[in-house]
C-alpha cells in the first residue's frame, strides 16, 4: 500500500474554511468500496480482503458508516447541493449486494437533488457481473460500468494476479448490453512484465471488438510494497522500460484513433460524448466529497483524505466525527500548479494566455505542445512527456 501522505491535522467536525459558492461548480460524490475477494499483484490501492478485517468491518458493515458520512456531508456543507456525478470505486464495488448500492443511492437522493441524466459509475470485476446484478444496478440508477479488463492475454493476467478469464469480459459486456447499459468502459493495463507488443495489440483489438463507448489504458506502475514490487526486488520479474511503455502507448493511440476513439485525457479515450464526466470533474478542479475508507475529497482548495483502515473510518463516524485523517489547504500557487497539472492532461488543453510565452514557445519548438484556437494542447510526444511539460509550464 502506498505510503501515507503528509498533511495538516483535519478538524474533528470536518469543518471547511471556505464553503461559499459550492453551487457554482459541479459537486460530485466518490464512493470508496475497499473490499476485494483477492488482492491483485500490482494493486496499491486502499483495499482489503476479508481475512484482513475484523467481523465489524467486513463488507456488510460498510453501508451504515457510508450513510453516516452522507450525513456528515450534509452537516458540513449545509446547503442544498445538486449532485453532478457519483462514482463507486474500489476495491471491488461490484462485490456489494445490489440492494446495498440501491439503498445507498436512495439515501443520497433523500438528501440531495441529482442532476438530470446524472452519471453514476460503478467499477466492476468481470467475474462479479451477473444478469441479476446488472438489472438491479440499472434500476437503482447506475448507468455506467467500468470493467477491469486489463488484458486479453492469459499470461499477462496471471502476472497481474487477476482472477478473471479473458472470456468473462466478453460475457460481462454481453450481460450489460442485454440489461440495457449503453455506457461502459474497459480498463486496460499495458507494460506488464512479459507482455509483448503483439500481446498488447491483441488486447487492444479484443477490447475494441466489444465496441465499448469508452476505454482507459494505463501503463503499469509497480509500486514498492505490492506483491509485484516484492517480486521485482527479488528479481523474479523485471521492470518494463519506458521505451516499451512509450511504444505501447503510441500503438494504443494509433489503434484507437483509427477506430474513431478520441483521446480526451492522457489515459482515456471515448466515442463522442461518452467521456467520463466524473473524472473530468477531477481534472477541472471541481468539488467532490469522497466517502469511504481512504477516500480523497476536494472542496474549494482544500484536499483531505479519510482514515485508510475501515475500522478507524467506522469508529470516527460512529463517534459523529469526521473520518478525515489529514488535509492540506492549498496555496494560490499550489492551486495554480494543480490546474496546470490537471488541465494540461486534457484534450481541450489550457488557455495559451495563462502560460508564459517563453515556456510555450520552447515547448512548441520541442514538439511537445501545439496551439489550437485559444488553447495549447499536448502532442502525442507531449502526452508521453506530460510531466516534462508541466515542469516547464510551472517554472
Amino acid at each position: 500500500m502506498a505510503a501515507l501522505l503528509e498533511g495538516d491535522p483535519a478538524p474533528i467536525d470536518g469543518e471547511l474554511p471556505n464553503k461559499s459558492d459550492l453551487k457554482s461548480k459541479p459537486f460530485s460524490l466518490y464512493v470508496h468500496v475497499p473490499y476485494c475477494a483477492k488482492r491483485c499483484g500490482y494493486c496499491d490501492f486502499n483495499t482489503y480482503v476479508p481475512s484482513e478485517l475484523d467481523k465489524d468491518d467486513q463488507i456488510q458493515s460498510w453501508l451504515t458508516s457510508a450513510i453516516k458520512e452522507l450525513d456528515l456531508i450534509k452537516k458540513v456543507t449545509n446547503q442544498d447541493l445538486v449532485i453532478d456525478t457519483i462514482f463507486f470505486g474500489g476495491g471491488t464495488p461490484s462485490l456489494l449486494e445490489p440492494e446495498v448500492i440501491n439503498e445507498f443511492l436512495e439515501n443520497v437522493s433523500r438528501r440531495y437533488s441529482l442532476k438530470p441524466k446524472i452519471e453514476i459509475t460503478l467499477e466492476a470485476n468481470p467475474d462479479t457481473i451477473t444478469q441479476e446484478k446488472s438489472d438491479y444496478w440499472l434500476a437503482s440508477g447506475v448507468n455506467r460500468i467500468s470493467i477491469g479488463m486489463q488484458s486479453s492475454t492469459k499470461n499477462v493476467l496471471q502476472t497481474l494476479d487477476r482472477t478473471h478469464n479473458p472470456e468473462n469480459v466478453l460475457n460481462s459486456v454481453k450481460i450489460l448490453k442485454d440489461a440495457g447499459f449503453i455506457n461502459y468502459s474497459l480498463d486496460l493495463i499495458y507494460g506488464t512484465p512479459g507482455e509483448s507488443l503483439e500481446d498488447w495489440d491483441k488486447t487492444l483489438n479484443d477490447a475494441l471488438a466489444l465496441e465499448p463507448p469508452h476505454i482507459s489504458a494505463y501503463s503499469l506502475v509497480i509500486e514498492p510494497g505490492t506483491k509485484m514490487g516484492a517480486q521485482l526486488n527479488r528479481g523474479e520479474i523485471s521492470n518494463v522500460s519506458d521505451d516499451d511503455a512509450a511504444d505501447k502507448y503510441s500503438l494504443a493511440e494509433q489503434v484507437f484513433s483509427s477506430r474513431k476513439y478520441e483521446w480526451y485525457e492522457i489515459s482515456n479515450w471515448s466515442r463522442s460524448e461518452m467521456q467520463c464526466q466524473h473524472n473530468l470533474n477531477y481534472w477541472r478542479g471541481n468539488n467532490w466529497w469522497g466517502i469511504g475508507p481512504g477516500a480523497h475529497s476536494h472542496i474549494n482548495g482544500v484536499r483531505w483524505w479519510n482514515e485508510k483502515l475501515p475500522k478507524n473510518w467506522r469508529e470516527k463516524l460512529t463517534r459523529n466525527q469526521s473520518p478525515a485523517l489529514a488535509r492540506e489547504i492549498l496555496s494560490e500557487r499550489q492551486i495554480k500548479d494543480e490546474n496546470l497539472m490537471l488541465l494540461s492532461r486534457l484534450r481541450k488543453g489550457i488557455k495559451s494566455k495563462e502560460v508564459k510565452s517563453s515556456a510555450r514557445n520552447s515547448l512548441i519548438e520541442q514538439g511537445l505542445i501545439y496551439e489550437e484556437s485559444e488553447n495549447i494542447v499536448l502532442t502525442l510526444k507531449g502526452r508521453l512527456l506530460a510531466d516534462v511539460v508541466f515542469r516547464h509550464l510551472s517554472e
Binding site: 519506458d242 467532490w288 480523497h296 494543480e338 492532461r345 512527456l385 510531466d387 515542469r391
Partner: protein, 615 residues
C-alpha cells in the same frame, strides 16, 4: 619520578644517544615507544595509555604516525652511567620521505623494527636505505616474537642478509610484553655513537619537526648540532633570515618541560610564538641572530607538492567553510598548498597540492572529520612541464591548463619505486608495473621466497589505483614505496569528455596516448549510466583536441508521465512534481544538458574511492 642527573642544557654529549625507529605500519613502533616510556620510568604505570606519543585521533585510529615527536628518556647503562636517550619518532609513510630523512638526520643510530610474523616491507626498506646513506648505526630488531605466527629464525636471516650482519645479531623483542626491551635500550647505549659537535661554535640546530598547537602556536622540534640554545635568546631561521624570540625552550619527557637551554647533541622543543608552521620549516637551520653561524646545515628543501586534486564542496554554500578549513590545516601542514578553482561541473572549490596520495587522503579525511565538510575530489593528477613549439615553457598541475597549441615535448614526474613481494606473485606484479609504463631496474631475492623489485614509474600512473591493484594482485602481500626521481619525456595527451558537444572540465584528464582510448571508453560509459535521459539525444564523447576517440549516446527520454491521475492521486502527484522541480534547481547545466550534481559526484567517486583505499 626519576631525578635527572644531567638536566637538559648541561648533558655532556658523550652521555647522549639519539636514535629513531624505522618500521612499517603495524609493526609495533608505537607499542615499542610505549614500553620504553614505561621501562625508563618517564610515564607512570597508571598514566600509561596505548600509543602515548601519537596525538591526533586519525593517527591513533589508522595506526599510523603523521607527525614525529622526540622524547627524552633517562637510562642507566650497563656501565652504570646516567645516559640520556632521545627517541625521535619518524613518520611512517611514503609521502613523508623528506620528513623521515630529517628525523634520521637528527640521530646517530636507528632501530630497524620488523614484525617477526611478516618480515620487512618495502617502505621500511626504503627508509633503511636512507639511514644507510646517512651512515647511521642500524640495530636490527624483530618485534612481536610472542605471536604464534612469528617466524623469528626466518626473518632474522632475512634481516641479517639486508643489513649485513649475523642472524644472531638480530635482537628479538616483544614490545607488547616488554620482553627484550631493556636489552634493546642497553644495546642503544653501546651501539649508537654519541653526538659530536662544537660547543664553542655559533649555535646551529636543525628543525626536524614543526607542529601547530592551538594554545602555544608553533612548537618546533630541534636537534642541536653546535653551540647552545638558551631561553630568551633571539634566534634566526637561516633559510629566510626571519628572527624570533625564544619564548620557551625545553624537552619532552614525555610532557613538555622547560629547560635552561639545549646543548650540543641535545634534542628538544622551542616556541617562538609564530602561528604558522611554514615559518618554522622542517630541515631549516636555527642559529643565534646576534652571533649567527655562517653556514646552514645541509639538506634543507621546500616540501614540493607532487599530487594535485580539486576539492569541491558538495554543497556550494560550504565554499567559505572549505577556505577557512584549508587555512587552518595549513597552520600545521607546511606541505599543503591550494588555490581557488572553479569548475563548470562542480562549482567553486580549491586546487590543492599534496606530497602524495596519503597526504591527500589525510587532508580530505581531516576536512571531513574536523570540519564536517562533504567534499568531492577530482581524480588526482600530477604536475607537467610542457615545451611549446614557440619555445615557451609552461608548468601545469591541472588538465584545464593543458595548452591547445602545438607541443614540442611534455615532461612528466617519475618515481623510483620499490616493490617487495612474495616470489609467487612476481608475474602479476611485473604485469601491473608494465601496464603502468614501469621500467624495471633490478630484482633481488631478500630471502628464498621474498623479492625486491625496483622500477622507475611515472607518478601519474601510481596516483590512480596502483596501490589497490598491487594489493589485489598479490592478495595483500606486496608492499610498495616510492620516491620522486626527476622527470621524463612522455607521449601524453589530454582527453576531454564532451556532453552534447560541451566539455565537462571535471573529467578532462592527461593520459598517455596509448591509454587515451581506454580512458575515453571508461568515462563515457560511466557517464551514460549516471546521467538521466533528456528530451533529446545526448552524445557523450571522449576527444583528443578535435578528434573523437569514443562515443556513447544517451537516448532521448520518451516517457515521463504518470498514467493515472484521479481524485486520490492529485496531492501525491503534485508533491512529486514539486519535488522534481526542486531537484531540477539542483541540476547543473552543461550546455543544454541537465546533470544532477550526484552524477558528477558518483562519476568521480568511483575514481577517488579506488585510489584512496588503504595502501
Amino acid at each position: 619520578m626519576t631525578i635527572e642527573i644531567n638536566p637538559a642544557g648541561t648533558t655532556p654529549p658523550e652521555l647522549i644517544r639519539n636514535f629513531c625507529v624505522i618500521a612499517h605500519i603495524d609493526h609495533g613502533k608505537s607499542t615499542l615507544a610505549d614500553r620504553m616510556l614505561q621501562i625508563t620510568g618517564v610515564v607512570e604505570e597508571r598514566n600509561m595509555r596505548a600509543q602515548y606519543l601519537d596525538r591526533m585521533d586519525i593517527e591513533r585510529e589508522r595506526g599510523i604516525t603523521i607527525k614525529s615527536q622526540a622524547v627524552r628518556l633517562p637510562w642507566v647503562g650497563l656501565d652504570n652511567k646516567n645516559y640520556i636517550l632521545n627517541l625521535i619518532d619518524t613518520p611512517g609513510h611514503v609521502d613523508f620521505t623528506y620528513e623521515v630523512s630529517r628525523s634520521l638526520e637528527a640521530c646517530e643510530g636507528t632501530i630497524l623494527l620488523v614484525d617477526a610474523a611478516q618480515g620487512i616491507e618495502a617502505q621500511t626498506l626504503a627508509n633503511l636505505y636512507l639511514a644507510l646513506e646517512n651512515d647511521m648505526k642500524i640495530i636490527p630488531v624483530l618485534n612481536k616474537i610472542d605471536l604464534p605466527a612469528a617466524q623469528p629464525d626466518k626473518y632474522a636471516a632475512e634481516l641479517a642478509n639486508i643489513v649485513g650482519c649475523k642472524p644472531s645479531d638480530v635482537l628479538r623483542v616483544s614490545a607488547k610484553t616488554g620482553e627484550g626491551v631493556k636489552e634493546l635500550l642497553d644495546l642503544v647505549v653501546v651501539e649508537v655513537p654519541a653526538p659530536i659537535g662544537d660547543p664553542k661554535a655559533p649555535v646551529r640546530a636543525m628543525i626536524f619537526d614543526s607542529v601547530y598547537d592551538t594554545y602555544r602556536g608553533v612548537v618546533t622540534y630541534v636537534r642541536v648540532i653546535d653551540g647552545k640554545l638558551t631561553p630568551r635568546e633571539k634566534i634566526k631561521m637561516m633559510s629566510s633570515g626571519a628572527t624570533h624570540e625564544l619564548l620557551d625552550i625545553g624537552v619532552i619527557s614525555p610532557e613538555p618541560k622547560s629547560t635552561k637551554g639545549l646543548g650540543v647533541g641535545e634534542v628538544g622543543y622551542l616556541i617562538t610564538g609564530v602561528k604558522d608552521v611554514r615559518q618554522s620549516r622542517v630541515g631549516d637551520t636555527i642559529t643565534d641572530s646576534i652571533k649567527p653561524a655562517t653556514q646552514a646545515l645541509a639538506g634543507f628543501r621546500d616540501p614540493k607538492p607532487m599530487v594535485f586534486a580539486g576539492l569541491f564542496p558538495i554543497d556550494g554554500s560550504d565554499y567559505p567553510l572549505l577556505r577557512d578549513a584549508l587555512d587552518k590545516l595549513q597552520l600545521n601542514d607546511a606541505a599543503l598548498v591550494y588555490e581557488p578553482e572553479s569548475s563548470v561541473a562542480l562549482g567553486f572549490g580549491y586546487r590543492c597540492g599534496f606530497l602524495g596520495l596519503l597526504h591527500l587522503e589525510i587532508v580530505r579525511e581531516r576536512l571531513d572529520r574536523e570540519f564536517n565538510l562533504s567534499l568531492i575530489s577530482t581524480a588526482p593528477s600530477v604536475g607537467y612541464r610542457i615545451l611549446l613549439e614557440d619555445g615557451q615553457e609552461i608548468s601545469i598541475t591541472n588538465p584545464s591548463e593543458f595548452p591547445s597549441g602545438k607541443i614540442t615535448e611534455i615532461y612528466e614526474p617519475v618515481v623510483k619505486a620499490t616493490i617487495l613481494t612474495p616470489s609467487d606473485y612476481i608475474g602479476p606484479v611485473m604485469e601491473l608495473a608494465q601496464d603502468r609504463r614501469g621500467q624495471m631496474h633490478n630484482m633481488d631475492y631478500l630471502s628464498e621466497d621474498r623479492v625486491e623489485i625496483r622500477y622507475t614509474l611515472p607518478l601519474a600512473e601510481i596516483v590512480f589505483d596502483f596501490f589497490d591493484q598491487l594489493k589485489s594482485k598479490t592478495r595483500g602481500y606486496a608492499s610498495f614505496d616510492y620516491e620522486p626521481s626527476g622527470e621524463q619525456v612522455a607521449e601524453l595527451v589530454k582527453v576531454d569528455i564532451l556532453l552534447h558537444g560541451d566539455p565537462v572540465d571535471a573529467f578532462s584528464s592527461i593520459v598517455h596516448k596509448d591509454k587515451a582510448y581506454a580512458y575515453g571508453v571508461e568515462m563515457t560509459g560511466r557517464l551514460k549510466e549516471l546521467i538521466p535521459r533528456q528530451q533529446f539525444e545526448v552524445p557523450i564523447q571522449a576527444a583528443i583536441g578535435a578528434r573523437i576517440i569514443a562515443r556513447e549516446t544517451i537516448r532521448a527520454i520518451r516517457k515521463d508521465v504518470l498514467a493515472k491521475c484521479y481524485g486520490g492521486d492529485i496531492s501525491r502527484k503534485r508533491k512529486l512534481l514539486e519535488k522534481q522541480k526542486e531537484g531540477k534547481k539542483r541540476m547543473k547545466m552543461v550546455g543544454r544538458v541537465e546533470v544532477p550534481q550526484e552524477a558528477f559526484v558518483a562519476a568521480l567517486q568511483t575514481n577517488a574511492d579506488s585510489a584512496s583505499k588503504d595502501k
